[in-house]
Amino acid sequence: MKLLTGNDLKSGAVVWWTGHDWSLHIEDAVNAGDRADEIAQREEAARRVNGPYAVDAEQREGKARPLHIKERIRALGPTVRPDLTLKPADPDHRDWVI
């Protein structure tokens, strides 16, 4: 599957395409399939996202998981500062990333 990701223009935060909007949480991401380029162009032109691009992902335990570690680190935050990730209290998140 293909996820569409980018950064919020104002805050720089990593965001994921939910089918109708952008979310901070990869759990909300949907498969953009072959529409990824089209959506990316439209959303960037409207400045709802900055630098969007598609990433390859798989479904694992019902949740989308990017194939490349770089995108998994982007999705949650630095592995060396669990306190600054989106899931500071979840002891399993590191296993999901690495």
Binding site: N7, L9, K10, S11, G12, A13, V14, E44, R47, N50, G51, L67, H68, I69, K70, I73, R74, G77, P78, T79, V80, R81, L84
Partner: protein
């Protein structure tokens, strides 16, 4: 240290307003990201892995306590309570919002700081010896020359769209603590036979994917021609540096392809022409800047410490460096606690370092390219009081220049260019050696880790270097041996196939053990490596 006059302040304030205007036009959609990117980069603002990252310039690594307090306040107000000191003596913040960046810059400008030209294809912040003005072995304080060049290079109209970034370092002693020959231009202040001060120019060094050691292209440029000669070096580069391939666009490639002799000939020709153009500031300007760097009022005092506390004695032995005044030392505050993130400091730690600088170091601090902080002028008599307060707040790690004093780039935890994480490797290595107790026996051993080929972690120049690569989506680490960024500059060699994250920690210990087994009396790791070569290490690693 340097103090802005109304002109300098006006320049920085103007850039804040210009950037505020550029940011507004970007947010309103009047600038595309492609147009805005070089503008924000030239003000140190990247779009990184998790957010915008802002790199703040610390010119030649020198700060006062007010500035360090301001950096701490910025970490709290605009970021997440910490900052990262970099291998070019700057500080960067990882979680900046574009819409707040202009206000942040305005806060910086209030303490005579900025983010001007900390990225982009222009002349970057000029680095220098972190012990400048304090070192026992320096000819003069190199910082006035760096400041002269800072002003010359700021908003230089001709060199605002160079083929690639351009880094300059200025030193003034034969011991090179600034990796001078691994810069686009390395400048050493020297004396000629007549006893006059001048500058030797080394051009075309660099790390990155094609590391090169800069050749000396002129051994003496008179001080009153420093700007003209720099301008000539840059003009030849701006006109003829390659623009067809980003990876061949640095000046090292130009110098290499032309040959140092031909490059030098072109520079000399341009220099002869520029001497008639009236672009050189008068020597009075250099003298004005020099007065800002006058020595503080050093006093007499004890020349030794009470060594009855072994922890304190160890810290003194490891983390203090001889000063030009006998009653003083330069004290290094390690930002490399065992298992910590190299170069990171919390806002609270920055505030503490600022307070200690005010109390014990004539209000001065330095950022080292090795990602530590220096209090340059500490009275030997004050060392115990200083250490006690550092140690209480986790800043007393006694590991300067040891295997635990690791340079590491932010790597894949923060950087969108990285292929592998650097920080976890640094953490595991420092934990390993703290636990096995070999740090002391290993002595001086400079270990440097980069998370990609761009080499921000200086892996080519480590006695032991580690380069993170991406092998089919898995992080993999290559080991290099024999690099040095000091006056005995050399580039490390790759030992062979790479290692996993845990494997590289074992490999470093294996290499360290070869040294411990093979060393002759008085040899550092690097000396032994140079004497016995890479084979015994390969044998132990792969044999």
């Amino acid at each position: 240290m340097y103090q802005y006059d109304s002109y300098d302040q006006a320049m920085v304030d103007t850039r804040v307003e210009e950037f505020r205007d550029q940011t507004r036009r970007r947010l309103e959609g009047k600038l595309t990201e492609a147009q805005f990117t070089p503008m924000r980069l030239k003000n140190g603002l990247y779009l990184q892995l998790h957010a915008y990252m802002l790199r703040v310039a610390v010119p030649y690594g020198t700060l006062n306590s007010r500035q360090m307090h301001a950096l701490a306040d910025i970490a709290d107000k605009y970021d997440r309570g910490y900052g990262h000191f970099t291998t070019r003596q700057n500080i960067q913040y990882n979680w900046i919002k574009l819409e707040e960046a202009p206000d942040l810059l305005a806060d910086l400008a209030k303490v005579e700081m900025h983010a001007i030209q900390t990225s982009g294809n222009c002349i970057r912040n000029i680095s220098s010896d972190h012990f400048a003005g304090a070192a026992a072995d320096e000819l003069v304080d190199p910082r006035p020359y760096a400041e002269l060049l800072r002003q010359w290079s700021s908003f230089h109209p001709e060199f605002n769209a160079l083929p690639r970034k351009f880094k300059i370092a200025v030193i003034a002693s034969d011991t090179d603590r600034a990796a001078m020959r691994l810069h686009d231009i390395g400048i050493q202040i020297v004396k000629n036979d007549a006893g006059e001060l001048g500058t030797a120019f080394y051009v075309g060094g660099g790390m990155g994917r094609t590391p090169m050691i800069a050749p000396c292209i002129r051994d003496f440029v008179p001080l009153d021609q420093l700007v003209s000669y720099s301008e000539a070096c840059l003009r030849v580069y701006n006109r003829y540096g390659r623009r067809d391939n980003k990876y061949k666009a640095r000046i090292k490639i130009l110098v290499h392809e032309l040959g140092a002799e031909e490059y030098t000939r072109q520079v000399e020709e341009e220099f002869a022409h520029l001497l008639d153009q009236g672009i050189e500031p008068p020597i009075a300007e250099l003298e004005r800047i020099r007065t800002c760097f006058a020595d503080p009022a050093f006093g007499d005092g004890a020349r030794s410490v009470d060594r009855s506390d072994p922890d304190f004695a160890l810290w003194v032995d490891r983390n203090t460096v001889r000063h030009k005044h006998d009653a003083y030392v330069s004290a290094v505050i390690s930002l490399k606690p065992v298992g910590g993130i190299p170069g990171d400091a919390s806002a609270a730690q920055m505030h503490l370092m600022a307070e200690l600088a005010k109390e014990y170091s004539f209000d001065e601090l330095r950022v080292m390219h090795t990602q530590n902080i220096v209090l340059p002028h500490v009275k030997i008599a004050d060392l115990h009081a200083l250490w006690t307060r550092l140690d209480a707040d986790g800043l007393g790690a006694p590991n300067l220049d040891t295997i635990e004093d690791i340079i590491a780039c932010p790597g894949l935890d923060y950087c969108s260019l990285a292929n592998a994480r650097s920080i976890p490797v640094a953490q595991k290595i420092s934990e390993r050696f703290a636990a096995n107790g070999k740090t002391e026996a290993l002595g001086e051993l400079k270990l440097k880790i980069s998370g990609c080929i761009n080499a921000c972690g200086h892996h080519h120049a480590g006695h032991i270097g580690i380069l993170g690569v991406d092998r089919k989506g898995i992080e993999n680490y290559q080991l290099l041996l024999g690099g040095s960024e000091a006056e005995d500059c050399s580039l490390g060699k790759i030992t062979g196939p790479g290692f996993s994250e845990d494997g590289i920690v074992d490999a470093v210990e294996t290499a360290a053990d070869v040294y411990l087994r093979e060393r002759a009396k008085g040899e550092r790791f690097l000396d032994t490596y140079r004497r016995i070569g890479i084979e015994p290490f390969k044998e132990a690693l792969y044999g």
